[in-house]
């Protein structure tokens, strides 16, 4: 038994020595002789494993590529979101610039710094990035391209605080755009989205305002000049007072979206603003009229063209029918006994 084990161990050692010698010989092979051997192994024994490795590599590359694409997609989405925000800001600034060019003088552009409020909270004041050094004084009207925003409550040299129309102390004398109905605008007591609604109070009982009627400042209060949009009538509110009516207004401006404002200097406010806020609307309606006229002209031209084409087709059809009947007559004459070209 021990002899068999000894011979087995010798056999194992002999195999080990053989393998080691072969390995050393392989290591010592010159490069031109190694390459064919390695190539033959790669093409035969290793071929399936190399295929597996290639597949794994391709899968890894595809995975990385998909990750890269996902990252690219995410950054594109982010860029698109930013682009949308930039477009909105651009629109706001453009409209503000438009207002500035229409007002021409006596205003101070300012950034509106909103206090951080919880969602649903009603913002009642704004800090403005311009103050008395720029000509802003207490009770200076704060306006935007869409209409009334508030008025300055206190003015420091470089900053000022504006009271928004949502502030419980805010009042402004207002009227309908045609000047037929007057009233006083108050903030509507509400919370959340309703907190920014307004009330037009003290409207003469005998007058009825339709929903959508535009309300503008009347200029009677001495702070706001006449003609700045305040909002539009939503509905009448039932009140206990029997001698006047109160209407709910949707404000022209949403304070939550205000980022830039125009502060009118007190002197500019006394000089009036004419139809500065009416101009964009009239320009828009004029543009609509021009477009409508162009559309009707195009329609008329298309109808004329169609009629002309129809007429041309009719005449061609008539000509061809005439030619066909003439040809049929001549054939009939030629086939008739004794007939023929004369």
């Amino acid at each position: 038994m021990a002899r068999a084990a000894r011979s087995g161990t010798r056999f194992d050692i002999a195999i080990l020595v053989l393998c080691v010698v072969l390995s050393l010989l392989t290591l010592a092979l010159p490069q031109p002789m190694r390459a064919p051997v390695a190539g033959a192994l790669r093409r035969t024994v290793m071929a399936p494993l190399v295929t597996v490795q290639r597949g794994t590599e391709q899968w890894r590359v595809a995975w990385r590529e998909s990750e890269r694409l996902a990252l690219g997609h995410d950054s594109l989405v982010l860029a698109a979101a930013n682009a949308n925000a930039l477009r909105l800001e651009n629109d706001r600034l453009r409209s503000l610039l438009g207002l500035g060019s229409r007002l021409q003088w006596g205003f101070v552009p300012a950034e509106a710094l909103q206090a951080t409020a919880r969602p649903g909270d009603v913002i009642t004041s704004l800090v403005l990035s311009a103050g008395s050094n720029a000509g802003i004084a207490m009770y200076s009207p704060v306006v935007g391209p869409d209409g009334v925003i508030g008025l300055v409550q206190s003015a420091d040299p470089t900053t000022s605080i504006a009271m928004l129309f949502s502030n419980p102390d805010f009042r402004v004398s207002a009227m309908t755009a045609d000047g037929g109905v007057f009233g006083i605008v108050y903030p509507h007591a509400g919370s959340g989205g309703d907190g920014y609604l307004l009330e037009l109070r003290n409207v003469v009982f005998s007058t009825l305002l339709k929903p959508g009627t535009q309300i503008i400042t009347s200029g009677l209060g001495g702070v706001f000049p006449r003609g700045i949009p305040v909002g539009r009538v939503v509905a009448e509110i039932n009140t206990t007072e029997g001698w006047s009516r109160t209407y709910l207004l949707r404000p022209a401006v949403n304070p939550a979206n205000v980022t830039s404002v125009m502060v009118m200097t007190p002197y500019r406010a006394t000089q009036g603003v004419g139809n500065v806020w009416a101009l964009p609307a009239s320009a828009e309606s004029a543009q609509r009229r021009v477009l409508g006229a162009a559309d009707s002209l195009a329609k008329r031209a298309a109808a004329l063209d169609a009629a002309r084409r129809l007429a041309r087709a009719d005449s061609i059809k008539a000509d061809s029918i005439k030619a066909d009947s003439a040809r049929a007559d001549s054939v009939r004459r030629a086939r008739a006994p004794g007939g023929g070209p004369s």
Partner: protein
């Protein structure tokens, strides 16, 4: 070893060989597990030292064919590791995860040392860094992965096939 046990061992070795080429490319780091060494050690403790040396030589030679230089270095290293593992199985092999992990660690580290010395393409500093740092980390990684593989394969491994 019975024919069934030999067949099962061959299947496991083949699967680990495929994993070397299917899984390792997914871990393109300097430290990665060596399924080839795990396969060789798994088989070596089940066969005679001479057979383990032949298996190591064959595995080393075919994988050397994919490397650019040092053709034969892997064969030499795996021959010695295979023979050594099979010869030492009575000493090392036990039904204990920690000892198995140490066995795998030593096997992989010995392979890396022999391969680096046989290939002899790096400077002394690089060789020392390879042997004392990267090979040690690779050996540890291989030991962890090997223990997991052995734990997974244990239900397939009949008691009679295990070395005593």
């Amino acid at each position: 070893m019975t024919v069934g046990a030999a067949f099962r061992t061959a299947i496991v070795v083949a699967v680990l060989l495929v994993m070397q080429f299917a899984v390792q490319p997914l871990m393109p780091w300097r430290v990665s597990p060596d399924f080839l060494v795990i396969a060789l050690l798994y088989a070596a403790v089940r066969i005679r030292p001479g057979s383990a040396a032949v298996l190591g030589f064959a595995l080393g030679l075919v994988t050397d064919s994919l490397s650019l230089g040092g053709f034969g270095a892997g064969a030499l290293a795996l021959t010695i590791v295979g023979f050594g593992a099979s010869w030492l199985k009575a000493v090392f092999f036990a039904d204990n995860l920690a000892i198995n992990a140490a066995f795998l660690f030593l096997g992989k580290w010995a392979f890396d040392v022999l391969y680096a010395l046989a290939r002899h393409t790096m400077s002394l500093g690089q060789t020392l860094a390879q042997i004392l740092l990267w090979s040690v980390l690779s050996a540890a990684f291989t030991a962890v992965v090997g223990v997991v593989v052995l734990a997974i394969l244990r239900p397939l491994d009949p008691a009679e096939a295990r070395p005593r």
